[in-house]
Amino acid sequence: MLSVRDLCAGYQGGRVLNGVALDVAAGRVTALLGRNGMGKTTLLRTLMGLLPVAAGSIRFDGADITALKPYQIAHRGMAYVPQGREIFGDFTVEENLLLGRLGRPRSQHEIPATVLDRFPLLAERLSHKAGTLSGGQQQLLAIARALVSEPKLLLLDEPSEGIQPSIVEEISDLLAGIVAAQGLSILLVEQNVDLVCELAADCAFIEEGQVVARHGVDEVRRDPAILQRYLAL
C-alpha cells in the first residue's frame, strides 16, 4: 500500500527525516513508535504532502506521490488525522464531516450513511458546534471526518492523547472493525502502548529520523526489552 524509500525532509531549521524506509501493508494496522522528537509527526506530515520532500520517494497504491500536493494525495485515498485533531471548532459537526467530501465532484457531496452508522454519537449531534464537543468526541469527529472520504490509508497521529480511556477503547474497537470490514490500512503513531498492542499488527520504530527496526506486535508483547530500547520505558 505505502512504500517509502530514503525519505529526507525537515523544516527550515533543519533536517528531521534522514532516509526513512517504511512499508505499510494493505489491510493492516502498522504502528510507528519512538521517543519525542524522533520524526514521527514529521513523517506523517511529509507523507500527506504538507512538508516538501528533500530527497527520497513515496509510493502509494502503486503510484509515486512524492511531488503531489496535499489535496491531490487526499484524492488518491490517503487521509490524515493530525495530533491535536484540528477540527473546525466554529463549524457544526455536520459541516466538519461535509468538508471531508467537498473535494469531490458535486454529486458526491453527501456524508456516507455508513460513517454516520458507525458514529451514532456524532449522528445525534450533527447541528452542534464542533467546539462544544468534549475532547474524546472531537477525536471521534476527526476520525469520522477522515473516514468520510472513504480512504485507503489512514494516518493517525496520537489519537489517544488527552482522551479518557473509555473513548480510547471505543476508538480502538471502531478502527479494528473498519479494518476488518473494509480492508482499511492504518499507519498509527502512538505513545500509548496498550492501544498499539490492541490494534496494530506490527510495529516500526523510529530513531533520529530513521526507521531502525520492525517487530510484529506479538514479539513486542512478549519482549519488554524492545519497548525499553526504543521508548526508554
Binding site: 500527506m48 487526499a74 490524515y80 468538508l99 467537498l102 457531496h109 471526518r145
Partner: protein, 288 residues
C-alpha cells in the same frame, strides 16, 4: 440642521459606506483565504470604471458596461493571480509589495491607454425622486440597491453554499482543508477573481457619480483598508461595521467642516480605534 439635510446626509453616507463595503469585502475575502493583502485592489476598482468608459467610448450603453465590468475585471484578476501573486504567497510582506507594483503598473497602463485626464461617464438614470420635501437622485438609490444585493449574495454564497463552506474551511485551517481534499489552488483563483469582480463592479456602478481618473483607486483603497482594520479583519461582518464607522464619519466630517479635515479626522479616529481594539470592533465583540 433640518430634517431634510439630515436625511440627505444619511443617504449620502449610506451610499459611500456601501461602496466601501463592496471594495472592502473583496479585500477581506482575499486576505482571509489567501493571506494576501492586495494593494492593487483600488486599481481593480479603477479598471471597472474604465471598462464603462471604454464601452461607452465604443458606442455601447452604460448598462452593458456595468454588466461587463465585473466579468472583465474578474478575468483580469485571474490573470494577475496566475502570473504574479501565486509566486509570492509564501512571502507575506512581499505580496504587499508585488501587488503594489501591480497597482503602479496598472495605473500607468490606464494612463497610457486613456490619458491622464479624467473622463465622464453618462448618467444613466438622470431623475430625482421625491422624498419628503427634497429630491434625491434615483441613481444613487440604485447604487445602494445594487450594493445591498451584491453584499447579500456574497453572504449567502459564503455562509450557505458548499463553495462558501469550503472557502471558510480554508480560511479556518488551510493545511487541514487541503488534507481533506479541498483544491486550495482552484479556490485561491476563484476567490481572487471574485474579489476582483466585486471591486470592478463597485468601480463601474460608481463611475457616473465620480470623476473617473487614474487616481480614483487610492481614494477607495485607503478607506477600505481602514474599514477592515477598524471593523476586524477576521470577520466579514467586521467589514460592514468598519465601513459604517469610516464612511459615516467621513461624510459627517466633510459636511461639518471640509473634505480635507474629514480625511484627517477619519484617519486619527481610525488609528485610535485600532490602538484600542487591535482586532477591530467586531473582533473585540466576538471575544466576549
Amino acid at each position: 440642521m433640518g430634517l431634510e439635510q439630515i436625511l440627505i446626509l444619511a443617504l449620502d453616507a449610506s451610499n459611500f459606506i456601501l461602496a466601501i463595503v463592496l471594495v472592502a469585502m473583496g479585500l477581506v475575502i482575499i486576505f482571509g483565504l489567501m493571506n494576501v493583502i492586495n494593494m492593487a485592489h483600488g486599481e481593480l476598482f479603477l479598471l471597472g470604471a474604465y471598462t464603462v468608459v471604454l464601452v461607452e467610448g465604443l458606442g455601447g450603453h452604460f448598462w452593458l458596461g456595468l454588466l461587463l465590468a465585473p466579468i472583465v475585471v474578474g478575468l483580469i484578476g485571474l490573470v494577475l493571480e496566475e502570473l504574479v501573486i501565486r509566486h509570492v504567497y509564501h512571502r507575506f510582506l512581499d505580496t504587499i509589495l508585488a501587488t503594489w507594483g501591480l497597482s503602479i503598473a496598472i495605473k500607468q497602463a490606464v494612463v497610457i491607454a486613456f490619458g491622464p485626464a479624467s473622463h465622464t461617464v453618462s448618467m444613466p438614470l438622470p431623475y430625482g425622486i421625491e422624498l419628503f420635501e427634497l429630491t434625491y437622485p434615483v441613481y444613487r438609490l440604485f447604487i445602494m440597491a445594487v450594493a445591498l444585493l451584491v453584499i447579500l449574495a456574497t453572504f449567502l454564497i459564503f455562509f450557505r453554499s458548499r463553495f462558501g463552506l469550503a472557502a471558510r474551511g480554508v480560511i479556518a485551517n488551510r493545511d487541514m482543508a487541503a488534507c481533506l481534499g479541498i483544491n486550495t489552488r482552484r479556490l485561491d483563483r476563484l476567490t481572487f477573481a471574485y474579489g476582483a469582480a466585486l471591486a470592478g463592479l463597485a468601480g463601474a456602478v460608481m463611475s457616473p457619480i465620480m470623476s473617473v481618473d487614474p487616481q480614483m483607486g487610492l481614494g477607495f483603497l485607503v478607506p477600505a483598508f481602514l474599514s477592515i482594520l477598524v471593523g476586524g479583519a477576521g470577520h466579514l461582518a467586521g467589514t460592514l461595521v468598519g465601513a459604517s464607522v469610516i464612511g459615516g464619519a467621513d461624510t459627517l466630517a466633510a459636511n461639518l467642516w471640509s473634505p480635507v479635515v474629514a480625511q484627517i479626522v477619519v484617519f486619527v479616529m481610525a488609528i485610535v480605534v485600532i490602538r484600542l481594539f487591535p482586532r477591530g470592533i467586531v473582533g473585540r465583540w466576538m471575544r466576549r
